[in-house]
Symmetry: none
Subunit: 582 residues, 2 copies
């Protein structure tokens, strides 16, 4: 039914070949899948409507979304309040068009006026109160410096400083209302140059041309390969991180694999022939297992190490981590089907080869210890589902490995081959990357062979709210601090201590999270602390530190764990804020 | 030679049959063994004297001790400070009597006063706060109702309510000090009737009388129960800690168990009868397993927490840790013999009950998670051999459990019974002790139910050489620093960083240790760093910090991990030394 509703809309659109080609399966289904990933985002505005109206609203909404997204602005429509939507439905009926999203210029003063033209680069230079805060919406440029203090959402508006409002409005749908756009229009100072308004089709020879669409709210650390994290405060809005907002850490272009012809190769035991398994066989010949597990990039919080002394690597903030429910076949079952048993002589490592390849044809690779792979207690899965949806393209469609409690880098995506070996993976990423070193080691002295490849990660926590540098206002004289905490190896987080005074005194935060089996606590805890604002203070240095079930704690400071690759950054997280006076 | 020295002294004593009977082996040797145990009580004052004088002092001391113990109050003598002891020696010489223990009345106001006379029956009626709490010591009766709240040991004082303090003071030797007796004398309300005084001493036998002899090099933190650690530098002299130098951490008197009649009880599955296993059966019916494992007390390095803010607990230095090769039956095999299997419904914990008991008959107890107990990967053993020798008395003869990677407190000694349960051990030590808390928690706010019982310990390291406050002389301008490093849960120590300048710069130490199976690295690493002495420095602040295979690290400082019980003290170890000038 959903498909029937979409088809007429889609038929009226010119879908670029590039996009059509990259969608898995037939085009309409792909659009549905993609649009539904947008729907998955938080939309509290429609939660009050009944089931029927919600259904029809949803259908219309995703129709807008599909259309709008293809135009690059569709998600704005996604979040409009019901009232506004109904009003616009009427307008649209009258005009006979569903295709044109509202533009801020529609809402401007009726007197035509000419504006200066700016480049995106010029806009990007205006990111601070000192330089002025500029943002864009559609083709329009606004100087909202004076508005920052008036913004009902506080300093969060600064997330968009020097860039486009669209991704944030897509996330915080409350903005998509006439009166908001009217307010904004008062701050218009110019327009983007026509070239930048109309970006042409991408270069089809680009190896990244088939990369999937992503949610515009993600903060991109690298486009090619795509590496992006959500705004940190989104992490603590839900225990399960929505797929669209789950951090993406690709090393290479996303391969487009046909699920019908896909085969997983499992290297045979003692030189016997490999086992080849179709996706269908993986789904039907092996019991389906589910595991709730948090995945963290080794480079999460690298920016804090970078601040101590520059490191090599993407400048991740604190959001290269997410929590999801994964489903698939247990790796152990597949290995047993290939003839392996526990305590196999010479079986020390299980290597995974990805189907994402560089121009020389070298694929991503990693390995984990054999005893982890073979243990049911470690819940290692060959995953085809993420949070109840088909595994997304950016997360390894059609199949990836999930090794709970172990660094993201070993959770190989677009999995092509599994090999049991006496050796670790010989890939660059296992041998010469993703290892920890003493702060005394630099690029002249480093010897990658002396450090073990990172597997289980150490205990971690971070503050997602308030944001650094913001002005906080107490409610009833109290402040609320939020964050996440997690540890590797199935070690449950048992306590989070929070300080508002730079570590002189501590408060114990409230933890929330699903109950997990002892020793198999793969998922994070979210935490909240609400406590009186310290009297007489105008500045707060907020800290958090977590304790796991082995009573491991985070180190106090970053410099002594600094390492040249900027991995394993798990010192106390520090956020400095100002306190609003009464 | 020792025997020859002792014999004349012993010959002058009447040893009651009761005591003689309980001594293993023939009487003289037993007395030697027993008396020599007294020789090793805490007496730093004699450490400066030569070997001869120490021997003779010791002989006199144990003579006092033996005599005193037979009168039921001997341990009073044992704990007096050297000053007090010398003063009393003089008094005793003057009076010609060694037989009269100090009485509380000796320490009262010098003004004679007459007191009401009470019967033992009257005393026994005062056992509640409502009736008043009365106790006796010698011939004196005290009403300590008002003191209960002030008692440093809390409500445990109520164990003596309505009766004599002697047995409890004998067990908790810390009471036998002048100031304690002075405090008590303020509560005196009467004296026992002369008939009951004349009934002769009650059964005042020292429950610790059967404790075994210990090596005199041990630094004693508490005599009764016996708690002692070796000099720190001994730890790094050998990879395997000799049994005599392995730290002793007893909670109660050492029970003397007859290996011939000893039976281990293993609670039956689903209410079926218990399995009883003799030592011989444990040795011959189950495969013998060996495991090299480091054992660490939860309170190791407590003295560093005590220095931040006083905590409750024995003031351990850095040597409440040791490494040994243990041999015994695998716990898993014994549980399987008792009918248990993996994934048993309702089997969540395995409880261990020790045969060391307090006066109320309550034994030491602890538990570990069932999945750890049942996993061959965790190498949990029922141990009858330590470093190739029969398990020593202080380490649990004839049988103890060794849970590698887990805090010492769960490695129950003198093992009497094993129970599989849905619940953890309900013992004091599992429920209301050996747990970690935030530094913000004090004895007024602590809720033991909110923290998990310590099992796996966090990563740890310490510097054994040089010693704090010493003067170091470089060899060829170089300094050598030594220490140990270990982590719980089978996580191997992969690196130790050492700083000579308080943490500004770091050096990587050389690690030594036996190769272990990944994920089952139960034994420590010893480490050494030889590096040029920093030029121009007269003082060095030497630090060490270890990294384990999960890349967990030690926290920088002690205060943020301070907790009211002083457990889990694993901040960077800091040793300040002076540099000898050329």
């Amino acid at each position: 039914m959903l498909l029937r509703r979409i088809s007429p809309l889609l038929s009226g659109l010119q879908i670029p070949n590039r996009l059509a080609a990259r969608m898995p399966g037939s085009c309409p289904q792909a659009c549905v899948a993609w649009a539904s990933s947008c729907l998955y985002s938080k939309d509290t505005s429609s939660s009050g409507s009944g089931a029927n109206s919600r259904n029809s609203t949803s259908c219309q909404r995703w129709a807008y979304t599909t259309t709008g997204a293809l135009l690059g602005l569709g998600s704005i429509l996604l979040y409009r309040s019901r009232e506004q939507k109904l009003a616009e439905d009427n307008q649209e009926s009258a005009s006979g068009s569903h295709m044109v999203p509202p533009s801020s210029s529609d809402l401007k003063s009726s007197v035509p006026r000419s504006y200066p033209v700016y480049t995106l680069k010029e806009v990007q230079h205006h990111r601070t109160l000192a330089d002025g805060i500029w943002v864009t919406l559609g083709k329009d440029v606004f100087d909202i410096t004076e508005f920052v203090d008036l913004h009902p959402g506080g300093n969060r508006i600064l997330l968009a400083a020097g860039g486009s409002l669209e991704p944030f409005w897509a996330m915080y749908g409350v903005h998509n209302q006439k009166h908001v756009i009217e307010i904004l229009s008062a701050y218009k100072i110019g327009e983007l140059s026509p070239e930048e308004q109309a970006a042409g089709p991408a270069d089809l020879s680009d190896p990244y041309a088939q990369d999937p669409p992503r949610h515009p709210a993600l903060k991109v650390n690298s486009m090619k390969p795509f590496n992006a994290e959500p705004p940190a405060e989104m992490l603590t809005e839900a225990y399960i991180t929505p797929n669209a907002f789950f951090f993406k850490r690709n090393h290479l272009p996303v391969p487009r694999l046909d699920p019908a012809s896909y085969r997983l190769e499992v290297g045979g035991r003692m030189g016997s022939p490999s086992l080849f398994l179709s996706l269908e066989e993986l789904k039907t010949h092996f019991p389906r297992h589910e595991v709730m597990a948090t995945l963290q990039c080794a480079g999460n919080r690298r920016s804090e190490m970078n601040a101590v002394k520059p490191v090599k690597g993407l400048d991740w903030g604190i959001a290269a981590i997410g929590n999801a429910k994964w489903a698939g076949a247990q790796l152990r079952d597949v290995l047993v089907a290939a003839g392996y048993k526990e305590g196999e002589a010479g079986a020390l490592h299980v290597q995974f080869e990805g189907l994402d390849r560089d121009l020389a044809g070298t694929g991503y690779g990693a390995s984990i210890p054999y005893h982890i792979a073979m243990s049911s207690d470690h819940d290692v899965l060959l995953v085809y589902e993420m949070n109840g949806e088909e595994l997304p393209l950016d997360h390894g469609f059609p199949l990836r490995v999930i090794v709970p409690g172990v660094v993201g880098a070993r959770n190989v995506k677009w999995l092509g081959r599994i090999l049991v070996s006496t050796e670790e993976s010989q890939s660059h990423w296992q041998q010469n990357d993703y290892k920890g070193f003493s702060p005394s080691v630099d690029w002249d002295t480093v010897d990658f062979s002396v450090s073990p490849a990172i597997q289980e990660l150490p205990v971690q926590s971070a503050i997602t709210d308030p944001q650094p540098g913001t002005l906080v206002a107490g409610e009833d004289g109290k402040i609320t601090v939020k964050g996440y905490a997690w540890s590797g190896g199935g070690r449950e987080v048992v306590r989070v201590d929070v300080s508002l005074d730079g570590g002189s005194t501590w408060h114990v935060a409230n933890l929330t999270g699903e109950k997990q089996t002892p020793g198999r606590a793969w998922a994070w805890k979210l935490w909240t602390l609400t406590t009186p604002l310290p009297a007489e203070r105008t500045e707060l240095e907020i800290l958090c530190k977590a304790v796991d079930s082995s009573y491991n704690v985070q180190p106090d400071t970053v410099a002594p764990i600094w390492n040249l690759r900027g991995v394993l950054s798990n010192a106390w997280h520090r956020v400095c804020v100002s306190v609003m006076k009464d």
